[in-house]
Symmetry: C3
Subunit: 668 residues, 3 copies
């Protein structure tokens, strides 16, 4: 990118009255230099089968170009028109709940050839029409694509062929998936039952993996079409999103982001997060780290909240804090969903930068200050390079496996454990990358890799992690890691599987903790935070040092948390679900050993610092105050310049941050 | 009506053994002078297609006539016989959950011509047979009619035609409903998708309105058939019911009572309410005011509880209190559902006046005292005329709209806000009428109109309310009023829409309150009751006086409750959901300004007073003690007579009410 | 049985690698002398339609025989192979949720002739092959059979014929089921609607009874086939199970155990129960008493937990405590489900005696001590005869009826009331049998019969209970008893129906208690335990003595608990749901009167004592410490021998039990 992009999703089609010139005027005032259009209005652009009307696209492109605002054009394929569903009801995905029903978006079968035929036609018509337009800087293929649980007969047939390809023989499949159990054995490919009703976790998880592959293929197919039209100065992107818990939370269960991102030029992301008193920056950071890691470079925030819900309407200052937080993680774009609040239909209370009255409002006015700063500071802030020395390893396979074999109570899920670890690193101001089982990145590049609940993993991956430790790395595993292979077959040897070697522990029993604490409060966190929840493995150290024992009348002989020297590195193993405080203390201990606790790590949440190197080779440090109170700290690096106020900063100088405040210091 | 009717629903068909003469004897003892029969026993009266057997009707009519007990005959159409469903399964309503399944009542498609054919035949056979019988004083058409979510292809087809009629062009429809959103645009009438799956709130709400219209048409059609047979001295009625929350709660979502009542001679109602320690009279009052307002005159309570559920079995005195409370709202009939407790099937624990042993019991014995008083006092109490100076405006459209666009959390719904206001007026002994968007009643007849959450409203209605204020009226709006038009399109101008003029406020943002109170406890309700819940609009007064500000670190600059002088009247606006106490204080303030606080309003709940004028032109005042403790008060009106004890009352005399007690004073 | 059996369910087919000889070696070490095989691996034994492969059966039989381990062979019919479902999808049960979906076990229609044809063939092939093998000591027909809610057209057709047979005429059916209600009347057999959607409780309950009969017929049919092959020294058994609330809880709603057991030689049972701090022995005792009562003799525990779930992993000592508790109730076999923890599929976390690593572990090691003790003490402990003087009467019909007519709130169900009574007897060390409406056992054999919530009962049963009291018996009824007849028609006479005579009380009203206690704490249980919950009948004593009155401002004139002398016996009636403490005190009072409080009853839970007579005619007393603290008590019987430690015990000697400890004393 040549500059920071500050954008909005723009829907001329949704406007209650003619607004284009007024909107553009208000965008210019706010420093908006990008709009995304067209990704959800197929029925407007193709009102009848084969009848096209791109007038709203044309007029918006021309007007934006005239105003110097760039445009990303989305392929409008994630919401199908009524005529298509009337003509071909089969384009709707059949799911475990039955045939589809028209109404919402994201209800079609992304493997259906009728849908694919019409998708290709509208893509070629639209992209072919706009690709030469000077306003267009790139394309978004589809929107938040998932597989929508498609599992009808066509998908099942392809799945059987996929299984044949992958496993070769049913003998092997029956064995690796344990299908003799409950008479599930398949003795002829013709007998292969629908995966929909299966109770076999291996089969269910394999089907989920197959469904994720459908997403990868679909996005690659779209990108390949758009690539035929794309100019050399244009890009293809897509807005990935995350597990949704009322906001972006963690690893997306239905998409393999790493695989799917391969077809893109630039990775994009949608990040929605709690706000007001619940604004912590954690989701911004996690979403940013995840997306930057996809292609190991800068990324786009293609959607994030402006006003959004009543409980998210930002306090004064928060919109600024959020925008610069995105940049601090390596984003080159901050784009709001969306420009204006919609007056009808469904997402009426997911408010845009403008309220329904389409006039100015406090949030819009704050955006204008961001637009000005972005424009002014773009040369210093664009293309921030990060060089993190810590990583968190996440896995779609482990997530799916833990959905099939839930932790007791069912409330703590894979992403809770990911976030339990990630959030502690965030609070300590340890910058992280996100790696995954298929990462081509050398693990050795990191001082520490945190591995939450790696429940399903191949021998190869566990051995790679063992080698990483041997070579001097530091791994921190949580409970459940190493337990099962990539087909979710529990390993038949001593637990925790192959990593037992690096971890220096073993166990054969595990229980649900009730009134269990860590003996003697070994991390000094106090009684309230010394408890153990959800799961405890009864660890016996072989070579490991015990960092914590369980305190319990019957399980007191077993270890809870251990650390083991292996080769030139260490492997830490957390055999239970401790409190956030304990995880924090433990990670701090490992980070200290790894030499990751520098000056920036003397600050702690709610004071967040993120850094990187700009195009001028200078260090940029963002300081964020994620609290409702003013905060101050001593700037302890060498001389610099605070960019927002454009004033010099001396080493040792006290920097004051107002509530929800930001400072950006460039080294000199 | 010539006299008060005291009745029971009577099912000779359900009796476990021959009971008719015993039952009549027990009815006479209890003063029962009315029974309703036949409304749910189609399969008994038409055991096979075209084979009729009205012997149970005949014998009951003859026996009742001989005993001097009047009979209302119901058309037996709300529960279809097994033979019909076997022959024509399509008579069952297809709903969003799929095809119907035989078993319960109210499961048919009220638009299905097969059902209508057989319904018409049984109506003509039954009503034609009984219309000349001297026992029959009137008819109930169907029973608690709703649309039962019927939405199969035939209903959808009619809906499309209705939409064509109403909107003319798809262009207009697409625009007013915002159908471009998520590619929902309809570009050809042939493409019109089933309303069942829609996510478009405007479309969904319009379908709900259409479904309500089916109910109106169905009842009018039934009434038109019955009218062919009706003698001049007979009436047609129907028992409307309410949103059900384990008891009658508020506006019925599935029926437009005002429209549907047009086809009737007398409006009827079913009122079920909490009892024992939870008996407050609020549902009796709300249900009565609602139903009296339908035709602006006296009404029938066609069903109310005798013993009913274990948690409703009345305490001694409560059955009397309830019966007179119905009269005090303008009822000319109190009819129990039902005479005897049913021994099998489904509603076995919804007990009647008689328990399963069919003998006497304390509740039955208390009913006998009511029967005696009704008979004795009928000339003084029948046809009570009310002249209320306050009204509450309710709207099916606003209710539906708030179902589509729910308040945060989803627990506070339209009727909660209606009841928040209505119940406060009740507690202050302010008599109310219920008005609605289509009311032909002049608003100007009222000193005050309370308008809860009028979320969806036409320009015309809002302007009518503005004019009402200009002309000297007092409106009290709650939050969400004026926000959207009648198609639930959010208004594109400044909020709260057109009523901004009368209210003298504006806002463009709203949030979900967390730890928000009203600054300085302006209504003096104490800390516990000074909080704000669920919703808060960030009001900026233009001309309004601010009655309460928010207390919050960021939203403190905005107003919560305002009052504005406009023309000769005032408009009060409540921008948030305050406590019951605050709403009470606020309404008291407005009522005081309106001159509604007279002598009766010096009493407060649990002492309830309701008044009206009897046929002799005398003022009748009912005094109710809705508590488990004896209460007394000074009778402050002019000299009168307490009718129950038949003794004179002097002005200033102390009247003692036992727990759950009643007194009725007629002015002299 | 000639000896105690200590067994495991063994699945050679599920093993991740060749394990047979290792497993057998480990079994021998642990004293395992029995395995159950083959009951859930149809798809392995018949990989294609008509192609059979019993190699895993053959090799296991041979190897077990060589090791001296007995084998029970199960018919593999409770989980159908994929090929069958592909060829004949109709073998899956159609349920109220729609057609079946392949995946889990227990999803077929047990009335489907295709399923029955293939079942018969695999049974004949398998049993015909193994019946002569010397390792085989018996057979289990099917596994935890239920009706799986099968209710498709074939089942409905049979149900109609069943109804015709049972009721003869529709006139009678309509009358007894009250079908006139809501137009449910059936006037022609052709019109008979599917029972699936019915709202008529009588009809719904009759259908449930018919479905239970399908189970009885199915098991009898399987047994009749196996009997053709069975050697004289072999037996047929089946593993019944219970209502499941995360563990075995109470009467099985879907099976009439007493009827179904008639076709078996030996009754078997699956008992799963809470463990760790929640281990009380109550489910072991209830399950044992229930199953012993089926054929009035010793029984098999065919499945119980080894390690099972994380929250069930036994504390040290608990596995022993459990094993001997089963023997103390009359079990001749303790068999774990299952030998090894499964590595894939669904029940991966329902762990066996071996963990996933298939090596030794603390639970396995404790099992080995049990195996040794079983082998050594088998001659003293096998075939324990019990002679209980108390019984609890349970009824499938009452259970089903209370599901149709739920108690307020829906949380307290039939089995809660059964367990409320049963558990109190257990805590007092009163040995119990379980009797049922069809019991051929003379009630007179018992001093006391406790009758929980006998909501639906025939005249005949109630009169039998009345006679029992007349003859000197003691009945303790809870609320709801006697209320309805066997068709769930509420009795039309005074309540509690026919037992009013024995109980000396009557009532016609009942309410839901709120803030109600027993007046004056008549059982001295303290304020916290003196409350009344869920249900209260307003009892008026006729001849009964009142043991407790309600304390309530309005219901204080009514009795809560009464006792009535009738003939030579007494009938106690509990008209409400009191606390466990009150029920305990009341039952203690009745047991004292009945002379059931002997030396053993001086001990109370957590010290549990169970006794019987062994084959040598000696009294065996088991002493169990169901607590996490050591306990001791004075042995007050005559001289004996403690069998586990093999040491003499003098009368009056103090016996120490470690936490979760066991002692077994044989009288001399």
């Amino acid at each position: 990118m040549k500059k920071l992009l500050y954008g909005v999703a723009y829907y001329d089609e949704y406007m209650p009255y003619e607004r284009l010139s007024t909107d553009i005027e208000m965008m210019k005032t706010a420093g908006i230099n990008l709009v995304r259009i067209a990704e959800s209005t197929w029925s407007t652009h193709e009102p009848q089968n084969g009848v096209f009307d791109f007038s709203s696209v044309d007029r918006v492109l021309d007007a934006m170009h005239a105003a110097g605002i760039h445009v990303i054009v989305g392929t409008p394929t994630y919401a199908v028109p009524t005529w298509m569903v009337k003509e071909y009801p089969d384009v709707l995905a059949e799911t475990p709940d039955g045939p589809g029903r028209y109404g919402a978006r994201q209800i079609m079968d992304i493997a259906n050839p009728t849908y694919l035929f019409y998708s290709e036609r509208i893509i070629r018509k639209l992209i072919g029409r706009v690709c030469g337009h000077p306003a267009v800087i790139g394309y978004q293929v589809d929107n938040e694509t998932k597989h929508y649980r498609t599992s009808g007969p066509n998908v099942q047939l392809r799945f059987v062929k996929y299984m044949k390809d992958k496993f070769g023989t049913l003998e092997r499949l029956n064995r690796e998936f344990g299908l003799d159990y409950w008479s599930n054995r398949i003795n002829s490919w013709e007998d292969f039952p629908s995966a929909v009703g299966t109770i076999n976790g291996s089969l269910g998880a394999e089907f989920a993996r197959f469904q994720r592959q459908l997403v990868t293929e679909f996005l690659a197919w779209q990108a390949s079409i758009v690539n035929e039209y794309k100019r050399p100065d244009q890009f293809v992107t897509h807005n990935f999103d995350f597990e949704w818990r009322g906001h972006s939370f963690g690893v997306q269960p239905d998409v393999d982001h790493f695989e799917a991102a391969k077809a893109l030029d630039i990775a994009g992301v949608d990040i929605y997060h709690p706000s007001q008193d619940e604004l912590t920056g954690k989701e911004i950071s996690f979403g940013g780290d995840s997306t930057r890691s996809l292609k190991e470079t800068n990324y786009f925030v293609l959607e994030t909240q402006a006003q959004a819900f009543p409980n998210w309407t930002p306090y004064p200052g928060q919109l600024r804090l959020q925008a610069f937080s995105h940049l601090a993680s390596g984003a080159n774009m901050v784009e709001y969903w969306h420009w204006h609040s919609i007056h009808n239909s469904f997402e009426t209370y997911w408010k845009g930068l403008l309220s329904h009255d389409l006039g100015t409002n406090p949030t819009y006015e704050e955006a204008a200050t961001i637009g000005r700063d972005f424009a002014r500071l773009s040369p210093r802030l664009v293309n921030l390079k990060k060089n993190n020395r810590a990583a968190v390893l996440v896995s779609n396979e482990a997530l799916t496996a833990l959905e099939w074999f839930k932790l007791p109570g069912g409330n703590v899920r894979y992403n809770d454990i990911v976030r339990l670890a990630y959030d502690r690193l965030y609070e300590m101001n340890i910058g992280c990358d996100i790696v995954h089982p298929g990462s081509s990145v050398a693990f050795e590049k990191y001082e520490i890799i945190v591995v939450p609940a790696l429940y399903a993993a191949s021998d190869e991956l566990l051995e790679r992690l063992n080698r990483y430790v041997e070579n001097g790395g530091r791994v921190v595993y949580t409970f459940k890691s190493g337990f099962a292979d990539e087909h979710i077959q529990v390993r038949t040897g001593v637990q925790p599987g192959l990593i037992e070697k690096a971890c220096g522990i073993r166990y054969s029993q595990f229980v649900e903790p009730k009134n269990v604490t860590l003996k003697g409060d070994p991390f000094g966190v106090g009684e309230d935070r010394n408890g153990v929840g959800v799961w405890m493995e009864l660890l016996t150290p072989t070579t490991a040092e015990v960092l914590a024992w369980y305190d319990h009348p019957h399980w007191g002989a077993y270890a809870a948390i251990t650390s083991n020297r292996h080769g030139r590195g260490t492997a830490t193993y957390i055999g239970c679900m401790p409190s956030e405080a304990v995880v924090g203390k433990l990670l701090e201990r490992v980070c200290r050993e790894a030499g990751l606790l520098g000056l920036d790590q003397e600050l702690r949440f709610p004071l967040i610092v993120k850094s990187g190197t700009n195009e001028q080779g200078k260090t940029i440090r963002y300081y964020f105050n994620y609290s409702d109170e003013p905060k101050s700290f001593d700037y302890s690096h060498g001389e610099g310049k605070e960019l927002l106020a454009d004033r010099p900063i001396r080493s040792g100088e006290r920097i004051e941050l107002e509530r929800w405040g930001v400072a950006i210091v460039e080294s000199i």
